[in-house]
């Protein structure tokens, strides 16, 4: 029976196709924290906000969970920031103001924080907000296995209820980034009643004290929130104090960028995040639309050298690469002037950013060639340098999919380094974690989002190598840097902290440990009728002040 044989054959072919698809997509995505930040997006002065209406906002990816204490995704933060409030709020200048806490004190030894809480606040389910509720949140976080919250509280030890509206948070050692962590929505306060009621399904039924209440979450489609009419405790960063202007806030999950941006252009949605550079210019020229850009603070996207690599443990070789890579050209070519070039390991919005590094390194091929000559690398017949019969190879590791055109950066670097006789081999893979763990790479690109320069401690401190579950991609191990990182984490004198971070940033550039490339702007496109959209220090959008004009 010919026909049956054809069916069988066809079945195998289709199954193989399906399996190939699965295979092609498989593998790990490597260590990468996403997120975004803020600043330049000052909304025009709003005359008088219009009440009512629904803001539809397209997200590029889907949240993992809406339980702030368990989530690791920036996109989740964008959603649950509206549902939960924090004890304190961090201003653009890095200082802190009261929010759910009215005041706080830090003990002499820097290990105990005592917060006085607002007494007029209620959760959306009617549960009163008090010290016991805050304690229940910290207990919830410390028992959960993962999420950003756990790393934000650092050496947190215990929470102690002093009286109904006073709580003590006790650390095992001083930890200066603590307040910054507390201001994040990852440490937003949830209703203890809801945490208990929903158990491990709490992430699907979040309840907080925030300006918007959770309504529903249809997976891969939308997350619907509505106004919390009782809200009366807006943070000092907002113009509003009472309930939100919007009646409804709906997040649509639209991964394809053409669909996401097109929906805003055609009026099917009111706002979309992650606007591609090629659309930014066009939308900016359209009188009906506006593109807000907010800098994502944390570490800039940088290329990290693997200091344990045979060839690239030599500082002269690294410096040659530093001088040969023309970062300005890369950033201008790929992002059409919509991204800023980075000069340091951290972004300009962070405490202690060292502006003296700007324009310090300029491309200089002669000097680069000279450095490689000095290091004993001689050009071979094929233009690639050699030493003791070994070729000068740079194994460049980058993640896939091609987020923010990072794979294109790799391709340009490969071209540029040919000029000084370095052979760059590209390894673009979904599974960056295996080569990172095994040390099979020389250069790796990454960025992290955090509101405090202490973010560098997890990236540059010895003992936090990737193989140990940390994020020290460079395998940097220098007791001097370790000491400075600890000092930055524990020192309460602001000037001394800044000084420590300045020294670290200069070390990273002077020793060519990293090549900073760009600072990522979080972008939002919306018609000009949408007003009052603001961004916090991390570049997360704030919807509380938003209103929609006719």
């Amino acid at each position: 029976m010919k026909r049956q044989r054809f069916i069988k054959w066809a079945t195998y072919v289709s199954l193989t196709t399906a399996l190939t698809l699965v295979l092609a997509g498989c593998a790990a995505k490597g260590g990468e924290a996403t997120s975004s930040t803020d600043s330049s997006a000052a909304a025009p002065a709003v005359a008088k906000p219009v009440e009512g209406g629904e803001l539809t906002y397209a997200l590029a990816t889907s949240p993992d969970t809406l339980d702030p204490g368990a989530s690791g995704f920036a996109v989740s933060h964008r959603v649950f920031r509206n549902i939960t409030d924090s004890l304190v709020v961090q201003l653009q200048d890095g200082s802190f103001q009261p929010w759910l806490a009215t005041e706080w004190t830090k003990s002499e030894d820097g290990k105990t924080y005592t917060f006085k809480l607002r007494q007029d606040v209620k959760f959306q389910d009617g549960t009163p907000f008090n010290a016991a509720a805050v304690k229940a949140n910290f207990d919830h976080i410390t028992t959960s296995a993962r999420g950003q919250a756990k790393s934000l509280i650092g050496p947190f030890e215990s929470a102690e209820v002093v009286d109904d509206y006073t709580i003590k948070l006790i650390l095992s050692q001083p930890f200066e980034p603590f307040l910054s962590g507390l201001s994040s929505a990852f440490l937003g306060i949830s209703s203890p009643q809801a945490i208990q009621q929903y158990g491990d399904q709490y992430g699907k039924h979040p309840v907080g004290t925030g300006p918007f209440k959770f309504v529903s979450w249809t997976e891969n489609d939308e997350i619907a929130l509505e106004k919390n009419p009782d809200y009366n405790w807006g943070p000092p960063t907002a113009d509003n104090r009472g309930p939100s202007h919007l009646d409804k806030l709906t997040f649509k999950i639209v991964p394809e960028e053409a669909t996401r941006i097109g929906s805003v252009q055609s009026g099917q949605l009111l706002a979309a995040e992650a606007v591609p550079p090629q659309n930014i210019a066009a939308l900016k020229n359209d009188p009906q639309f506006q593109v807000d850009q907010a800098i994502t603070n944390g570490t800039a996207f940088s290329l990290y050298f693997n200091l344990k690599s045979d060839i690239w443990s030599d500082i002269k070789a690294r410096q040659a690469v530093q001088l040969a890579v023309d970062v300005d050209t890369i950033v201008k070519t790929l992002y059409l002037g919509t991204y800023d070039r980075a000069w340091s390991s951290i972004t300009p919005g962070l405490l202690g950013y060292d502006a003296s590094l700007e324009n310090k390194i300029k491309p200089d091929l002669d000097k680069a060639n000279q450095l490689l000559d000095e290091a004993g690398w001689k050009k071979g017949a094929d233009g690639i340098r050699e030493k003791d019969g070994k070729k000068l190879i740079l194994r460049y590791l980058d993640g896939s999919p091609n987020r923010e055109k990072r794979n294109d950066i790799a391709a340009i670097v490969q071209q540029q380094l040919k000029a000084i006789g370095v052979n760059v081999t590209l390894n673009i893979t979904k599974d960056t974690s295996t080569p990172l763990k095994e040390g099979n790479f020389d250069l790796f690109g990454n960025s992290q989002v955090k509101a405090d320069p202490d973010v560098m401690r997890s990236i540059f401190q010895s003992g936090k190598e990737y193989a140990n579950g940390g994020t020290n991609w460079s395998n940097l191990s220098d007791p001097e840097i370790d000491k400075l990182l600890d000092l930055g984490s524990e020192e309460s004198d602001l000037e001394k902290r800044k000084e420590a971070y300045t020294k670290i940033q200069q070390y990273l550039i002077d020793h060519a440990v990293i090549l900073p490339i760009y600072v990522f702007p979080y972008t939002v496109a919306h018609p000009k009728t949408v007003e009052g959209l603001k961004f916090d220090l991390l570049g997360y959008p704030q919807f509380y002040d938003v209103s929609i004009h006719k």
């Binding site: 026909r3 054809f6 069916i7 066809a10 079945t11 289709s14 199954l15 196709t17 399906a18 399996l19 698809l21 699965v22 997509g25 498989c26 593998a27 790990a28 995505k29 490597g30 260590g31 990468e32 924290a33 889907s62 993992d64 969970t65 690791g72 296995a145 993962r146 999420g147 950003q148 756990k150 790393s151 491990d200 992430g203 699907k204 249809t218 997976e219 891969n220 489609d221 649509k252 639209v254 991964p255 394809e256 053409a258 669909t259 996401r260 097109g262 929906s263 055609s266 099917q268 979904k430 599974d431 974690s433 295996t434 763990k437 997890s458 990737y466 140990n468 579950g469 940390g470 994020t471």
Partner: protein, 308 residues
């Protein structure tokens, strides 16, 4: 007849079980440590990593993980997503209707457009319709569905505003993705039907029919078309597999719900229980459609009914 169906059902079970096992094996041997990925650099210590690995049962030998998975599967327990902690089965069941609706609409587009154009182009060989049909055939086969999808979207949704660009609520949301995906299948069917029709038209029995004075319409539609349908039916069975894999991309482009979209996300995140679950369901849909196609042969072709 009944015997054939029972045999087909039994082999179908083997196909479903086999594909699940293969995928389990592939996901197991693929590089990438799901635990490191879950923690995403947030691990506090090697002990925390070991803890989570133990919690997920990933520290056990392969055969134990494998047998445990299948024993649970037989009990109807598909496990929990490693990212969201949700149970996998309800998560998939919630999304299956959207994918079935899309597959159904795109299959309808493929079959209607494919058969209609295939027949017309065979009848009007080398005419304008034939040229058009051959263009549709070539276009459907060679254009990736996501690209067609984006073009349709730009024109009919963003420029003209006739259809929504995204979502999976009303029937309107099915039109553009249904066409984008359906054109791929239509491309295959047009070519298949056209070729078979041309072959059959040149056969002696058609000449006989014409000689006995049967109207041309009856010759074409009652005799030539019915005889051309068997290969087309087989094609449709296979095509369902193509359509199901196409939903992975199309559901993402049109921001629709569906199991293809969950699969894409789960693969990226190496969320193995979810990948397993979706593959299992896809295999079931694929196999069921092919059983139906087998059964329908006998309806179309009496010779098959008699021979079994």
């Amino acid at each position: 007849m009944a015997g054939t169906i029972v045999t087909r059902l039994l082999t179908s079970l083997l196909v479903v079980a086999g594909s699940s096992m293969l995928v389990f094996l592939i996901m197991y041997v693929l590089p990438g440590d799901p635990v490191l990925q879950m923690l995403d650099g947030n691990a506090t210590s090697p002990e925390a990593i070991a803890d989570l690995r133990h919690q997920l049962g990933l520290d056990q030998p392969f055969y134990e993980q494998f047998s445990r998975y299948f024993i649970h599967l037989l009990q109807g327990d598909f496990g929990h997503s490693r990212i969201t902690q949700d149970p996998v089965l309800p998560k998939i069941l919630e999304q299956v209707p959207a994918t079935l609706a899309l597959t159904f609409v795109s299959a309808a587009v493929s079959i209607v457009v494919g058969i209609l154009l295939g027949v017309l182009s065979a009848i009007h060989r080398n005419g304008i319709i034939d040229v058009l049909a051959r263009f549709v055939g070539l276009f459907g086969i060679s254009m990736p569905s996501f690209w067609t999808g984006i073009l349709l979207l730009l024109l009919f949704s963003i420029k003209l505003g006739w259809f929504p660009a995204m979502g999976s609520g009303s029937w309107k949301t099915l039109v553009l993705p249904g066409i984008a995906l359906g054109l791929v299948g239509a491309g295959f069917i047009v070519r298949m039907v056209r070729n078979t029709m041309l072959e059959i038209i040149s056969e002696p029995f058609i000449l006989t029919l014409r000689a006995k004075g049967l109207a041309e319409r009856a010759v074409m539609y009652r005799h030539a078309l019915r005889n051309s349908l068997i290969p087309a039916l087989t094609m449709i069975g296979v095509m369902i597999g193509e359509l199901l894999s196409g939903t992975v991309v199309i559901e993402t482009v049109f921001a629709r719900q569906g199991i293809g979209r969950i699969l894409a996300d789960a693969i990226m995140a190496k969320d193995i229980p979810v990948v397993q679950g979706v593959v299992f369901f896809t295999a079931i849909i694929y196999v069921s459609v092919n059983v139906l196609v087998d059964i329908s042969y006998s309806l179309v072709d009496p010779r098959i009914r008699r021979s079994t």
